[in-house]
């Protein structure tokens, strides 16, 4: 899935909103677009057989999203379509936050519902890594990252995932995914990664 996104990103130059977006933003955009979807799916490392229920509405939304690319991107969209048809859409594994906040955003809740559904049928440790953007002080940001990871952990636990399986760790601002110094990067760094 990552390869698909990267390929789309690289080759899709005429798209209105996909232009100049890095894979993370694109991934986020796509996931937001299909936020209503309850596709239980495989992540990039795991496959899960229960992962093929797709609602019609969601299917249409997805088609809509891809057709934007199709209008301007020619063969790219068919490749994208092919990629989507042969592998199920992965569940979102990165959840974003507002500055100095650990409250879950609405689309995060939807994505976590889908994750919880998958995790209820699996075993093993779920590792949640909390991060902050570079603004503010480092030690406060370590605490903030932990808050975020715990917010996700608590939500998953409420959705039926055994709390004992969930491990949280905070890296604060020490492991940014985007190295820029503007809101574009900061918004990608304020995150919890599910691993």
């Amino acid at each position: 899935m990552v390869a698909f996104l990267k390929s789309t990103n690289r080759r899709e130059t005429g798209g209105i909103i996909l232009m100049n977006m890095d894979p993370k933003s694109l991934s986020k955009l796509l996931t937001v677009t299909i936020a209503a979807v309850m596709i239980a799916a495989c992540s990039s490392t795991d496959t899960d057989d229960s992962a093929s229920a797709t609602s019609d509405a969601a299917q249409q939304q997805q088609e809509g999203a891809v057709s934007t690319a199709s209008d301007s991107g020619g063969d790219v969209s068919s490749e994208a379509m092919g990629g989507r048809e042969t592998m199920a859409e992965p569940l979102k594994t990165v959840f974003y936050f507002n500055f100095d906040q650990s409250a879950l955003l609405p689309d995060t809740r939807a994505a976590l519902d889908a994750q919880a559904q998958r995790l209820r049928d699996t075993t093993g440790i779920v590792r949640l890594e909390g991060h902050a953007d570079e603004r503010g002080t480092r030690e406060y940001n370590l605490a903030l990252g932990e808050r975020r990871a715990k917010a996700v952990a608590n939500y998953l636990a409420i959705q039926g995932v055994d709390r004992a399986r969930i491990e949280t760790i905070s890296y604060g601002e020490e492991k940014p995914v985007a190295l820029g110094h503007s809101e574009q990067s900061w918004s990608l760094n304020r995150r919890v990664e599910l691993k």
Binding site: D100, G136, Y140, A143, E146, I169, K175, K195
Partner: protein, 429 residues
């Protein structure tokens, strides 16, 4: 599902070789700095000498922002002792003070001996005449010691040129891989010495009050843990590795306790560890982030950051009574406070109109002075003589160290060419 934690090699390097990762750029000094001439010291031994003592002293004094050393090219003579000094020459050049000296080869445990003299040009009088000595490897130490003496003589304030700093440097290697280093260096950035290198974060370097030990947080096992380490021997001990945060170690002024942040009980709280017994006492108990403890110089209270009021602000906890008082009210983000040595003021990260800067607040009056104008300023650390605050900032997309005098008039940068540098911690005397 869980990715295997890959542990990378962690190196404890105690090599005697040193390199200079940081360079110094003075960006702002006082309006009328004192003019001083530091004449190259005469070397009377055999072979070349590895350090330019007078150059180091001149750079130290220049970096303080309060002195303007005369360029060597402008010197009309190169005296090395009192008999060779012609005051009128220096007076003609507008020089107020003159430092001269010579280095001779000694023997035994002091193969290097230095004699130096400081003169008041206007009064035509000698202010200092001293001798010191040491090993060849201590030439920079000798130079900083001379700077300390001159600074004390001319300003009445003890110099901090012989002190050290700790800092963290980081570099993105590829993808999500970073290299993190804990480095010790002279206060002027020279003689960097690698203390710890890891592929996992190293944060919160802190000094013991005796300057012989340090503490820091390392994620080298995949989880954060607080370590204390003896600098000379390299011996270290893991103090905590609880579930959750192990963060922000801060030695008490008497060296017997360490304040720290643990979330083992579910929430980031401040604890004090008795270092003799390693027994923990929890001092905060609030459903909020409580972190970044720092001891007041008298050891009787701790200032810390808390968002108990909604936004991060500074609070003070009095150990004897358990009383907690809010200290900051101006701005919507005030964090990581550090008291000045006199305990009258605190320096901290202050956000105003969305910008993070270093500010100082007079505790009695409550007034705030913003000291910096750079971008994303954080991690202030105060020189033991209270003259300067070193902090971390961003310049052209790179993390650099910078310093500002406590009155905001003197500023310099300590950038690194190759890595992001941050979290400076200024040693005690």
């Amino acid at each position: 599902m869980k990715k295997l934690l890959v542990m990378f090699a962690v190196f404890c390097l105690w090599s005697t070789s040193a390199w200079s990762e940081l360079t110094i750029e003075i960006t702002q000094g006082v309006d009328n700095p004192t003019s001083i001439a530091v004449v190259p010291f005469l070397w009377q031994g055999s072979g070349p000498i590895s350090e330019d003592l007078a150059g180091i002293v001149a750079a130290d004094l220049h970096r303080s922002g309060q002195f303007k050393p005369l360029s060597r090219g402008d010197m009309l003579g190169l005296p090395h002792e009192q008999q060779e000094v012609f005051y009128r020459d220096w007076r003609a050049l507008g020089v107020e003070y003159l430092l001269v000296g010579k280095i001779v080869q000694g023997s035994g445990d002091q193969p290097i001996q230095v004699q130096y003299e400081l003169f008041d040009v206007l009064k035509q009088s000698r202010l200092l005449f001293k001798r010191t000595g040491g090993q060849v490897s201590q030439l920079r130490d000798i130079a900083h010691l001379i700077s300390d003496e001159v600074y004390l003589q001319l300003t009445g304030i003890r110099g901090a040129f012989s002190t050290n700093i700790l800092y963290i440097s980081a570099k993105k290697l590829s993808g999500s891989n970073f290299s993190y280093r804990l480095v010790k260096a002279d206060a002027d950035g020279a003689r960097s010495l690698l203390i710890l290198e890891s592929r996992e974060p190293i944060v919160s370097p802190a000094w013991a009050p005796n300057g012989k030990e340090i503490a820091y947080v390392s994620f080298e096992t995949g989880y954060p843990a607080i370590y204390r380490q003896h600098l000379a021997s390299g011996k270290r001990k893991r103090l905590t590795h609880f579930k959750g945060l192990n963060s922000a170690p801060a030695w008490s002024p008497d060296g017997k306790s360490m304040a720290m942040v643990l979330s083992k009980d579910g929430n980031p709280e401040i604890y004090i560890m008795d270092l003799a017994t390693e027994k923990l006492t929890r001092i905060t108990n609030k459903f909020s982030i409580d972190t970044e403890p720092s001891w007041m110089p008298d050891g009787k209270s701790i200032i810390f950051t808390s968002n108990r009021g909604g936004k991060p602000q500074l609070y003070q906890y009095t150990l004897a009574t358990g009383w907690i008082e809010r200290l900051t009210f101006e701005g919507d983000y005030n964090a990581r406070g550090r008291p000045l040595p006199d305990g009258q003021s605190i320096v901290f990260v202050h956000r105003n109109k969305g910008q993070f800067h270093i500010a100082v607040q007079d505790l009695a009056k409550g007034t705030i002075d913003v000291l910096t104008k750079t971008f994303l300023d954080e991690s202030p650390s105060i020189a033991p003589n209270a003259s300067m605050v070193m902090y971390a900032t961003q310049r052209r997309g790179q993390g650099i160290l910078a310093a500002v005098s406590i009155d905001g008039r003197v500023k310099f940068h300590l950038p690194s060419k190759y890595r992001d540098v941050r979290e400076p911690a200024w040693s005690p005397f």
